[in-house]
Amino acid sequence: MSATTQQLERNFTHRFLTSLRRMNSPDSKTTTTHAAGLVIRRRSLRIKRAAYSSMARAAAGSHRAWTRAVLSRTRSQRRRQQHGVRPNYIIPPSQRRKSVKRAAKLKKKTKKKSVVRRLGRAGKLRELVPGGSRMEMGQLLEETAHYVQCLAVQVRVMQAVADHFSSSM
């Protein structure tokens, strides 16, 4: 298994670094009108999303259901960020909490709709593993195993990247 893990690692690292570089270059998506903290938060979310999508792309060779779910989730997140969340940036801070709450409720509603099967512990696992609400138990466990493997690789690589960049700074 270590051969596939190494291959996965290399693939993920390549994609992740490419996406990071693309993010660092100035792009039209980031506006400068919002507060500094939000920038950081937005950027962290984008990095996280980039990490997950690059991991999903790197692991897509094994034909797993969770990779498809992650990629579709990433796309919907990006779309929501472009359309729904951006108006929040220019809302004054007093009203910002309300709109954030509304957006959160909407998100929760859509999430509840898709999560149909909540059978105790398995339901929790279904929530955690992307695309888990649609699988049955056996497939869920299989996907969880692969997902855990990929997450471990992801964490290892991201830690290495963070160390590298933080030490060189």
């Binding site: 990071l20 507060a35 500094a36 903290g37 939000l38 950081i40 938060r41 950027r43 962290s44 979310l45 990095i47 996280k48 990490a51 997950y52 801070p93 910002r96 512990r121 398995a122 929790k124 696992l125 955690l128 593993v129 138990m137 056996g138 466990l141 299989e142 969880t144 195993a145 997902y147 855990v148 493997q149 997450l151 471990a152 992801q154 964490v155 991201m158 830690q159 990247v161 963070a162 160390d163 960049f165 933080s166 030490s167 700074m169």
Partner: protein, 405 residues
Amino acid sequence: MQPCSREMAAGGLNSSPSTTTTPSHQFQLHELHQIHGGQHTHHFDPSSASADDFLDQILSSAASSPWSSAAAADLIKSPWADLAAGDSTHDDNNNGFFNDDPAAINLTSKFRHHQINGGATNNNDNKMMLQQQLLMASAAAAAGDGAPLSLFSGFGSGSIQPQQHFHHPATQGAGGGAMQPGQSFGAGGGQSGAAASPGKAQPQASGSTGGAATPSQGKPRVRARRGQATDPHSIAERLRRERIAERMKSLQELVPNANKTDKASMLDEIIDYVKFLQLQVKVLSMSRLGGAGAIAPLVANDMSSEGGGGDCIQANGGSNPAATANGGGSESSMTMTEQQVAKLMEEDMGSAMQYLQGKGLCLMPISLATAISTATCRNQPSSPNLSVLTGGDVAVKDSTSATKP
């Protein structure tokens, strides 16, 4: 009649019997296919008394085949003897089924002989019996029993379901699979043979039906099979459960601290581990943005919710509302920890250290802490984002935001 039978038997082997004229051995094979039902009308008296008694006792249950009540002993014994003499000549007939097992080879050829010489009225019964005989003989060869006896018992369990494909592949399959059930079958062959026919039919299914018929025979074997064969739903469910157990086992190897044998606790462990990994990804994605100042409040909130290392650095310089929202939450816990540590430090430094380590924190001199913070967050303002204990020249810093230990 006996000399007739002998002749017949001998003729089946190497000389022409009364019914046919071809002396070749391959003839037997063809005879096998050609002779159907009841050309053979000879009834052979049993030669030896003991074998006869046993045979009669067994065959009394098998009422459907008249020819078997005769001296099957003759049929069995004489070809056996002849086979023992002329075994080498039959190799071409054996088709290499049991080449490594001379007893099985004997059985195969004997089986053919019996098919030719027997010519029973009921073709199916004939086949069944011969097949069982073959199995019994192979089992006997494995068990070391007397071949004739087992053969008799094989004949005995002759109230048999008709078997269709009684050709060489069947014998091979039967012979190959007969070693295992053959033993118990040999034991149970003396009983009513309505039970397990260990032939081509699935041994499990037959075992279960046999279990119903002969509960006293081969109990452990039958019990294990019973639940499996009766209900297709239970089979499917069992398969599903086995699959799930196997996947859980493979997951157990991935997840650390996987010493739980309970499935539920194992699932909890897996869930916690997945949450932990996802949290790590989140933290790392934030750390990329440069420094303790941004991570700390968010990490503090997450850490305190997770319950581990809850009191992290509090960002004093952050002007983001999110930070203050989270920072307010962690502020009180931080002061509490500070007070606690101060109290502990008065009595014993070691206990204070242990308390902090339990929370995921460590003590270090301020100079080192400032050095680290300026190294990690260069683009932050120069004010150190550390909360300093009033105790003196020590500082408390979250271990995760520092460089890797």
